[in-house]
Symmetry: C2
Subunit: 350 residues, 2 copies
Amino acid sequence: MTEKLNVVPFVSVDHMMKLVLAVGVERFLTELSAYVEEDFLRWEQFDKTPRIASHSHDGVIELMPTSDGHLYGFKYVNGHPKNTRDGRQTVTAFGVLADVGNGYPMLLTEMTILTALRTAATSAVAAKYLAPKGADTMAIIGNGAQSEFQALAFKALLGVNKLRLYDIDASASRKCQANLADMGFDIVISDNAQDAVEGAHIITTVTADKQLATILTDNMVGTGVHINAVGGDCPGKTELHKDILLRSDIFVEFPPQTRIEGEIQQLPADHPVIELWQVMAGKAQGRSSSAQVTLFDSVGFAIEDFSALRYVRDKLIDTGLFEELDLLADPDEPRDLFGMLLRAAKASAA
Amino acid sequence: MTEKLNVVPFVSVDHMMKLVLAVGVERFLTELSAYVEEDFLRWEQFDKTPRIASHSHDGVIELMPTSDGHLYGFKYVNGHPKNTRDGRQTVTAFGVLADVGNGYPMLLTEMTILTALRTAATSAVAAKYLAPKGADTMAIIGNGAQSEFQALAFKALLGVNKLRLYDIDASASRKCQANLADMGFDIVISDNAQDAVEGAHIITTVTADKQLATILTDNMVGTGVHINAVGGDCPGKTELHKDILLRSDIFVEFPPQTRIEGEIQQLPADHPVIELWQVMAGKAQGRSSSAQVTLFDSVGFAIEDFSALRYVRDKLIDTGLFEELDLLADPDEPRDLFGMLLRAAKASAA
């Protein structure tokens, strides 16, 4: 990409949008899903740690690092539910991919858009293993920034083409419907969550409030459905009634993190959960009967961001959709950092 | 600085050099020291955690986050001793300052140069409290990338004007001498470490090899000196013989991190150490006698980077030495991230 040691390729928001559009949203989601699946299948090769969270009154800032021994990736991401009040995003993110061998960053990229894409891709990968066969109808509770990405990922990977939308703010549902117009969906907006889940094979919950909410109660969830619980992702933020959890088989990304952040924070620390990667690898069973309620308690894990960073990095070579950032000091003689400063002084005086 | 919500000010390596030169190296170090001291004096307000390290065969990549409840900062930094072999820096770094209230990054900056400056500034602040009165002679063992910054920080804050240099590679010492020519130092290059420490009031060790080295042995350290041990800063990387530690009063930044990374990794976990911030705050004694050997077991802590990020941020307003980076997605309607993508498609089709 470049041989200049000081330079790190940077993907701005503008370049990320151009990249997603150049590839096509559904193809992007499908290809990204393949990277996620590839990394989940080699789960044991990764350094894994729960994300490092800095909580404050209004939200959280998190760092999510991981490494496979060759590449190192991390994401900076915030979660501030009140941000929309002053026109800001609830979640913004950026990330870095680096070479473990020399520690040099290889890519800096926006990850606000990319996080929405990787979250949706991971949800759809999980559903591929867990949703009932032939599932083509999905309820989406919470029609904010992530809803369209979820819809398109499930369409691309599972063939979901009927959506039942609900949001406490009806304008969010209308926004979601309008954005997805002419994309091959049959869309119904519901007046309440109960109506929305009616007849759905898959229920996606993706609300944003930081509180112990009950978006779904037990009576609303019929047998055989797959629940894709995306919105509950930090301590004190859940979406499902505990009774739903108790009659579901629960699939998670990285148990030590999900126990802190996921829906299962409502359950005892020894409540059995199944690691999603083990299902993919054939080491654990996914859906075992048509009556079973499966629950993907998604909180988002560093390996998914790592997959997304890898994917974007691979796409840059062909597309050229990046800038060069002068991020790393590169003196002619590596030990002469101060001399570089002196030469810069001379150069500017000349 | 800017009202565009998508934009984060970015300080490139080139801009950082221009900033340091515009301010002047010694003044930069003096002002930065004041920020470090200010933050050490409110130590208890900070979220503190040992850095998150990802170790590999050839080095380490670390994330160093901290927050005072209003601002959040983190640094990405690598340490790869073999990097100089292929023309790369041993240590490179960049960092981010963010607003805790909304989680938005406020500054992205190179920190390779800035880390050298903040490390030197912190060393000099520590020495202000610990070095013998009237100390004007410093030995510097290890004359690589950080040596000149250390020299200038000690000159600016303590009036050190006599340097005794030693490096296993004599060309490094000559490079350091040449870089510091005409800056008000009386400089002697020594043939060995023993000669270098002769008559020095302050001994700075700042070597780079990742191994249990013994740069200084017990017989080389006379009474009354202050040792500024900078190079030993990760597990398996130390510079001083254990016997020196046993007859020194040891001052550290953040004990849980220093026990893992510092010279004191050679000592039992309950060996007494004194927190530097407590000395500054008058809660613990610094140097108590002229015969005492004081040792600052420096490993570099996140709060120092936080201070450096704050300082750079404050300097930008006057100097304008930054670029605007399109890092954050900023849809017209915050919940309409997907709609932003659709509008970008329309805009490019138009």
